[in-house]
Symmetry: C2
Subunit: 228 residues, 2 copies
């Protein structure tokens, strides 16, 4: 999965107008708050003016970090990718390669929605829906990053096949479609209908789909990991 894991955005890009470690910390703090706001309200409502008001900062202070609304939106999306990597992709690497790592990736993914890493629900679900019918660089960035997440799932499926833990005829595209749908489904059920049982349903669906596609070796490896 190493090669397909989401890239950690280069937050030290020289293009950005800051020069000190302090400025870097401030920038990250601003972005974390902006990701929280966008997870609830979407990115389009996030202007430099509204964010400055929310943070009790001057608009000119924010302009020193982000030159435009679009630059702010792109930086927020990059920051959300860092949060996703920290909460989902990296912890999954602690599981043994194969079906265990595939399950771990999805389990952490559901957990990251469940634990409300973002107060308004999953940042990605919100902005994917918000930008689904738009065009432009912000949409392009969202498509690029979420495509990486789909590839990360597919890479784990292929790895599990190579290890003889999933059957050769297991359909990676079908499995990853269903996994992605369960993650979206539990976010919406929880946020809109207050249905917290949906997280358990998403995990059960993921486990069953892996079991359905697994060899005996894979079933044993999955059971050992979940019992673990």
């Amino acid at each position: 999965m190493e090669s397909t894991a989401p890239k950690t955005p280069d937050l030290t890009s020289a293009e950005r107008p800051r020069t000190t470690a302090h400025g870097d910390r401030t920038r990250r703090q601003i972005l974390r708050r902006a990701v929280d706001i966008a997870s609830a309200q979407g990115l389009e409502g996030l202007t430099i003016g509204s964010l400055a008001k929310e943070l009790g900062m001057s608009k000119s202070g924010l302009f020193a970090h982000f030159g435009s609304k679009e630059e702010l939106q792109l930086a927020v999306v990059d920051e959300a990718a860092v949060i996703f990597a920290e909460n989902v992709v990296e912890p999954a690497f602690e599981a043994p390669e194969g079906v265990a790592r595939l399950y771990a990736l999805m389990d952490h993914w559901v957990g990251y929605v469940d634990e409300s890493v973002f107060p308004g629900g999953c940042f990605w679900s919100k902005v994917e829906s918000e930008f689904s019918a738009r065009s432009g660089v912000v949409r392009d960035k969202i498509v690029e990053l979420t495509s990486e997440y789909i590839k990360a799932m597919q890479a784990d499926v292929e790895n599990a096949k190579r290890r003889g833990e999933l059957r050769d005829d297991a359909d990676a595209a079908q499995l990853t479609f269903e996994f992605g749908a369960y993650v979206q489904g539990c976010n919406l059920a929880s946020q809109l209908h207050g249905d917290r049982a949906a997280f358990g349903r998403a995990r059960l669906g993921i486990r069953r789909r892996i079991e359905d596609a697994a060899t005996d070796k894979g079933k044993k490896a999955l059971a050992a990991y979940i019992k673990g």
Copy 2:
């Protein structure tokens, strides 16, 4: 399912300021266009001013139909429910009761997303995400109507159980969670990633989940309906 099917909103409500058949037709035409716009851009961007501009009407002309932005939003949600009933709920009643009708409901549901009844993707996916972290009467209406759709799926599952087509231990909540997730999943995959194969994956997932939970009688009834 009769009792749990989405209610057709009362478009002749006396509270609304119109008195003629011509006015009623005009109102419906305005609302159809507004549903299209909201399916792409969301409801919050839909103001009386922006809609008037889009339709080439005067703002005062629109105010005669809708007294406020909120009244317009509620009317748009009601109109989207009429479209959903016409395209999904009512056609499913043509299938025989049991697993066939359950599959038909979901098949029409995927079809209604696939055929782009709404140019910007599924209206409900868009507004569910948009209002997931909001409060107020528009959100309440969206929750009420989408809850009816979940109940419609659950009623079909229970009907299929009573007819001995699904096993007694089939988990209606799990099944309907997964069905709802597949529908959301294919809308997003298509809209954001241009992945039209997702519609087939959603249908395959729905069919397999029904088959997994079906009795022999149910499997035969489902195969006969799909072969149809």
